[in-house]
């Protein structure tokens, strides 16, 4: 069959109409808009932790390990159980395997007991960043402390400088590793693996530059503190109702 120029125009016209209808339908049915490009300057990341909501299930530790391929025996996040007698003297603290399997039932019944999730505090004045001899560890423009594993010497000065014990030498890469606040997720509009998997909402990712972020209301309405405030690191992980015994 011979295709004439007229046939070509007619077929093209029909295809154009079909495509237009399809595109219109997609818009009407509310198909996902293309995501806005992530702009680092628009964000300033941190986290809020509600101590009273944490049940010590260890979901966050497992989720983090799975999401980030954390090697066994090392922790980007972990949970501590505090059992405190009256006052702050000699709290009994435990974190079996970082609480990756939660906690065994406590034998103590008369002590004040609570759980404290820990992770990198993504300090704005970070001692680990200060001491890195080659600048392999740095604060990103959106406030996340990261390590360039292609640049890290593995000298571990940063591990010594971190007041919170959040860093370790990855046994495979022989470079320093730590919580990235799931940077690969948060820059795509997702939350962190630990927050995503917390069954009680004890941990919540916070964007301090986003005026609509619930963190602002949280900070306005609650008494909060950071770990080891005397270190003056401008930590960005805020704890609600943190007991004075916690270090």
């Amino acid at each position: 069959m011979e295709i004439t120029r007229r046939d070509m125009f007619q077929m093209g016209g029909k295809l154009l109409v079909l495509a237009s209808v399809g595109a219109t339908l997609e818009q009407i049915t509310g198909a996902e808009e293309p995501p806005e490009a992530y702009r680092m300057a628009d964000h300033w990341w941190g986290m809020i932790i509600d101590i009273d909501k944490c049940i010590g299930c260890g979901n966050c530790v497992r989720a983090c390990a799975n999401e980030n391929g954390v090697p066994k025996g090392y922790y980007r996040t972990w949970v501590e159980r505090y059992e405190v007698p009256e006052g702050y003297a000699n709290p009994k603290v435990s974190s079996p395997d970082g609480a990756i399997d939660g906690f065994p039932p406590s034998k103590e019944t008369s002590l004040k007991s609570f759980y404290v999730p820990k992770l990198c505090n993504h300090c704005a004045d970070s001692p680990c960043v200060q001491v890195c001899p080659v600048g392999a560890t740095f604060v990103s423009p959106d406030g996340v402390v990261l390590v360039d594993k292609d640049y890290c010497l593995g000298c571990r000065y940063c591990v010594q400088a971190c007041p919170y014990g959040c860093r370790y030498l990855h046994p495979d890469t022989e470079t320093v590793d730590k919580c990235t606040l799931c940077y690969h997720r948060i820059t795509k509009g997702l939350t962190t693996a630990c927050c995503e998997n917390c069954p009680t909402g004890a941990r919540q990712l916070a964007d301090f530059k986003n005026p609509k972020d619930p963190v602002h209301e949280f900070l306005r309405n609650n008494k909060v503190t950071v770990l080891k405030p005397q270190m003056a690191t401008q930590a960005k992980v805020y704890y609600k109702d943190l007991d004075g015994s916690v270090r």
Binding site: Y74, Y75, W78, E80, P91, K92, V93, S94, S95, D97, G98, K118, P127, V129, Q130, V131, C132, P133, V134, G135, Y151, C152, L153, G154, C155, R156, Y157, V159, Q160, A161, C162, P163, Y164, G165, C166, R167, Y168, L169, T173, E174, T175, M231, R247
Partner: protein, 389 residues
């Protein structure tokens, strides 16, 4: 319950990050700085009595300085990237300055001073030797073969200036090592402004003791007479430097005890348990009080030469043990307690791994091998005899 752990450690703290190799680093650089300061006593401060050890002290400093970066290099997870510290140094990092301080000290201070001191000898040997040795000495002259009195006078003048620059450089080399530890606010065992000063004086103590021992050993091996006024003078300087060093360390201890901040109970418990042998027994009693007593006795009474030599040898050896223990207690001790102040871990030294005991021993022997080569190449004796004559 984790083996070797008492109480609570943050989970990532259980494993120690800085091993015995990092203990060697301040120990070795301390010997370098101390040996150089001793050498400068003669050159700048005109303490003529120690002249017989001048060249020996310079060669000791060089032998140890050449080895100083090796433990660091061996410790790095990625030693092949260490050059980045020169190419892209992070300006806020104390550690990033290491390469520059080291290079400055090695090339601008030590090599220049040794070359100027030996230049006339090198020229003479380039003329009197044959074959391969001649080529080596010829190369070492760097084409400068004028040894006229006028040229030697210039050597002497420039050497003096280099030594004057070298004294603050030696202070910087080791004071800087102290700053690396003293500036870590996260670690109360390290974080004190006294740390660089303590490191500096302990460096002088160890370097002076090492040169004194090496001088006596070298004279013994060569079957020559030990210049006792020289050794007496060195022992006197060792005593006074040691008194200052011990005073500073005790000041730190008293300050910590009196202030008793939040870390005190934890650190105090550590000293009374895990660090008891290395800190109290080795560092303070055997490594400080005993050598100080031996040296002090020589300030008060006059013993026979043979007995003095024995006392100085004992004091020197104990001093080096004490200073090594001090480095150990700083580096390893600073990692044995949790930054939560609620628990303690332990350090198990491995044997033949990269950061184990065998490489550490090899690294401690290496400077002596280099020293042996250096004294063959640049004999420190002729000059001493010429001086005596």
């Amino acid at each position: 319950m984790i083996p070797g752990v008492d109480g609570f450690m943050y989970p990532n703290e259980v494993e120690l990050q800085w091993s015995v190799l990092i203990v060697l680093y301040p120990f070795i650089t301390g010997l370098v700085a101390g040996a150089f300061i001793l050498a400068s006593l003669e050159r700048v401060f005109q303490v003529q009595a120690v002249r017989p050890t001048y060249r020996l002290a310079l060669l000791t400093a060089l032998a140890f300085l050449l080895v100083a970066p090796l433990p660091l290099q061996l410790h790095l997870g990625h030693p092949e990237r260490s050059l980045e510290m020169y190419l892209t140094p992070h300006r806020s990092s104390a550690m990033a300055m290491f390469g520059f301080v080291y290079l400055w000290y090695l090339t601008v201070v030590l090599l220049v001073e040794i070359w100027l001191e030996y230049r006339a000898d090198i020229v003479r040997m380039a003329q009197s030797t044959r074959g391969f040795a001649r080529i080596i000495y010829k190369a070492l002259t760097l084409g400068s073969e004028n040894v006229s009195p006028a040229a030697r006078a210039i050597d002497d003048k420039v050497g003096y200036i280099v030594t004057v620059i070298g004294i603050p450089s030696a202070f910087m080399l080791h004071g800087y090592v102290g700053f690396i530890f003293g500036s870590i606010k996260a670690n109360p065992w390290w974080s004190t402004p006294l740390m660089p000063v303590v490191f500096l004086f302990s460096a002088m103590v160890s370097g002076i003791a090492a040169v004194m021992l090496l001088y006596m050993a070298a004279m013994k091996v060569k079957g020559r007479l030990i210049d006792m006024p020289c050794v007496d003078t060195i022992a006197t300087y060792l005593f006074y430097t040691f008194v200052i060093d011990f005073t500073l360390e005790m000041l730190d201890l008293i300050h910590r005890t009196y202030e008793a901040d939040e870390s005190f109970r934890s650190l105090d418990f550590m000293v009374h348990t895990r660090l008891w042998t290395s800190q109290v027994v080795l560092q303070i009693v055997l490594g400080t009080l005993l050598p100080l007593a031996l040296l002090a006795a020589n300030q008060l009474w006059r013993f026979a030469a043979e007995r003095r030599r024995a006392m100085y040898t004992a004091a020197g050896c104990l001093t080096l043990i004490g200073i090594f223990a001090m480095r150990w207690n700083v580096v390893i001790g600073g990692q044995l307690f949790s930054k939560s102040f609620l628990g303690y871990t332990s350090y198990k030294m491995e044997l033949v791994t990269r950061e184990g005991l065998v490489p550490a021993i090899a690294l401690m022997l290496l400077p002596f091998a280099i020293f042996f080569v250096l004294i063959k190449l640049l004999p420190p004796w002729q000059e001493s005899e010429a001086h005596k004559a």
